[in-house]
Amino acid sequence: MEIMEKFEMEVRKLFSHVSFHPLEIKLYSHDISVIPGYLEKMVSSDAEVIIQPESVDDVREILRISGEYSKPIVPRGSATSGYGGVVPLKGGIVVDFSRMNHFEIDEETKTVKSEPGAIWWDIQKEARKKNLSLRIYPTSALSSTVGGWIAQGGLGIGSTMFGGIGENIEEIEVLDFERDKRVKKVRHDNLKYYIGMEGTTGLITSSAIKLMDYKEEIPVAADVKGVMEAVKIVERTKPYSAILMSSEFFRMMNEVKGTDFEEKDILLAVYLEKAGLDGRDAYDLWNDRFYPLRIKKKGPSLVSIESLIPFENLGSYYREIKKEVAADHAVQTYFSKKEANVIVLIPSDERDKRFMKDWKTAFKLLKVGMKLGGRPYATGLYLSYLSRRIILDYDELLKFKKKVDPANLLNPGKIFPEGRVPMLMKIAGLVI
């Protein structure tokens, strides 16, 4: 029997939910990103099988057959990330965690213990019933998963007060290739080996996440003149969450949605229990927080550039955006404790020549951001050539990776550059 046939037979025997269907495989071999066609041809690749595990035992079995047949493993939440993290660069097994979506809220310890496929907003809805609340969640909370966001290492709603996801985790459980495949319980300093590591160092099978007592959210909108005024307000009034939205964003929203938002630069600052700022109430903007991509309809494509920039350099970065981005664009800035995620959104059209031009702008902005002490939001597959430069403790992490995954089967090509993709993307960054 051919190896592949044997592999397929064994997979079908072991798991209840698998697909080898070529079109289904296409559906599970990409994320939300759209990159220029010629690059996509070179960097995209299809999985060989999709497996939907239902338990930790299933995940353990996946690791076993991965090792036995040398098939890479690509963990997948809802694939709402956009740096190629879920692209099966070297084929193999896509592990769709959507069926492992149970969670339990412990009111005593104010934590939620969750399987990786649980959806953030499902947790929030249950927490609210118990008068608790997530401290932070991504604006993709309606669909993104616990495992996915932890592995992506993000900032989100609530990060102005509570920082990144890493600061809000008690413990995670992971499986990797090391030793006897017992679940590892990871806490404190060791969390750094997994948070934001995109599944390259282990598969997250469970997480204990900190909750807070629910407090009424009071959204206030304030007109601001420039990003540094927003920074001052954020530093002075210490909101729970803060987002600066550019006048262009509101113009585009009005165009696609027929709304009549004031077309000004507006800081949406959200406080808990008591407003810390005079301004108009902004429940409309707050309720729209899950819809930052509405303006995609203008495109129909959207080129998005996300850079984490230290507060003190935001003014310079905004000036560079003005200088570098000639195309119509909107800016949304999400404030964390000391840095902000600046997202520049350029409505574009992937079927048109301008798409390449807009990508060129994207690469330029990334470089400018790095010069200003910033870094891209993630590296994933596409920006892995930058990992060594922007990830603290890179060498230590690489050493750790080699220890727990000696055959490099855990999401290969992500974070840690490998093969020709890093070179291609680097060249693309230089030439497009």
Partner: protein, 384 residues
């Protein structure tokens, strides 16, 4: 494939792949992206770029109940419902109609109802002793209440008669509204029914049409005007669901004048075609409250309501899937420990009852709003 989708390209490309539409009832049951709105849009995009969709994936396009929930949450605001129906119309042209949907169309062609029941028996439900007048107000019973859920049609006739509302009923001249065909990619066939129905109504001087079926309501209120515009036909009818009509004509009487009230806890299932598609949410709830029942809401309600699983030709072609969706909906009612699950559509009632039967549940009792109104009338010594 690319050619037939030409004018839909911008909508297809607009999908952000955000997966907010994971709440799709079909996806909730099957859990593979090929049946989710997100997955379907990606497949359409692939097919625009010359990937052939195989038959399995094509079939998946018809697992959508056309409930419209995805459109409600879509991050980009793509008019998904329209897109699904349009795509189905195109797919059936090149790939043919699915077997169960073809059977429905054949039955409609011969018997003027999708159930293959004799035309002669259409008015078999009509209660003796009730007068039909040549009023300009028409009661359109629809195929399901005429043949499969007669209690709804009977209750309606009795209610109208009790409130001394003169109404017309076309008996054997009533024909299918065409909803089933419109939802299963057979618009061309439905158009013939539209023309015939309008002709009959005009001949009988009809101005207002009352339906008890959410599917008929949506079709008359939304599809007929659109098709008529395309064909240059005048459409001047007032379309009302029974709940709207009774709330308008007798809501106060039921609330204040009928002293004997019903007892028990009830929840209301918004039929997708009446609620999300047409925006009718309040009148059924007002009537349930007026009847005396204690109304509580399920987790998914009003705009966010969860489909019963029957629509869009899914019950006909994918029975198991439709029942699994029905069970999910029943579960929400069970969590509230209600005595009654009330809806405003014979098809929802029939399907939820079926889902209840296969789940071997005793509670809740599944009722249509017409039965609730009749019950309260009876409590107050009205018609039995």
């Amino acid at each position: 494939m690319a050619k037939i989708l030409e004018d839909l390209v911008d909508e297809i490309y607009a999908c952000a792949q955000c997966n907010y539409c994971r709440i799709c009832p079909t996806f909730k049951v099957e859990r593979w992206e090929s049946v989710s709105p997100k997955g379907r849009l990606y497949l359409l995009k692939l097919s625009l770029n010359n990937s052939e969709l195989d038959n399995l994936m094509l079939k998946d396009f018809f697992k959508c109940t056309t409930c419209g929930l995805c459109e409600n949450v879509c991050i980009v605001g793509i008019p998904l419902l329209k897109l699904w129906e349009e795509t189905r119309n195109r797919l059936t042209k090149v790939k043919g109609v699915l077997p169960a949907h073809k059977k429905l169309a054949d039955s409609i062609g011969i018997y003027m109802n999708p159930y293959g029941e004799e035309k002669e028996l259409r008015d078999g439900w009509f209660p003796e002793g009730i007068e039909v007048s040549n009023s300009n107000v028409l009661y359109f019973a629809g195929c399901t209440a005429s043949y499969r859920a007669k209690e709804i049609a009977i209750s309606t006739a009795k209610i109208l008669s009790h409130f001394e509302i003169e109404f017309n009923y076309l008996r054997k001249d009533e024909i299918c509204c065409g909803s089933t065909l419109l939802r299963t990619g057979q618009k061309d066939k439905a158009e013939k029914l539209v023309e015939r129905n309008i002709k009959i109504w005009n001949k009988n001087g009809i101005e207002t049409i009352i339906t008890t079926c959410a599917g008929c309501y949506r079709t008359f209120a939304l599809d007929y005007p659109e098709i008529c515009e395309e064909k240059g036909i005048d459409f001047n009818f007032e379309i009302l669901h029974l709940s709207q009509f009774i709330e308008r004509e007798a809501g106060k009487i039921i609330k204040n004048g009928m002293k004997a009230k019903l007892r028990g806890k009830a929840t209301y299932h918004d039929p997708c075609h009446l609620g999300r598609h047409a925006g009718v949410y309040n009148e059924p709830r007002e009537l349930i409250r007026a009847s005396g029942l204690d109304l509580v809401e399920m987790e998914h309600t009003r705009e966010d309501s969860f489909c019963c699983g029957a629509g869009g030709g899914v019950r006909a072609q994918f029975r198991d899937l439709s029942l699994e969706i029905g069970k999910l909906r029943l579960k929400e009612a069970l969590e509230l420990d209600v005595d009654y699950l009330i809806s405003c559509c014979p098809f929802c009632k029939m399907h939820l009852s079926h889902s209840k039967k296969v789940s071997e549940l005793e509670k809740p009792e599944i009722l249509d709003i017409s039965e609730v109104i009749l019950k309260v009338i009876n409590e107050n010594g009205g018609v039995e």
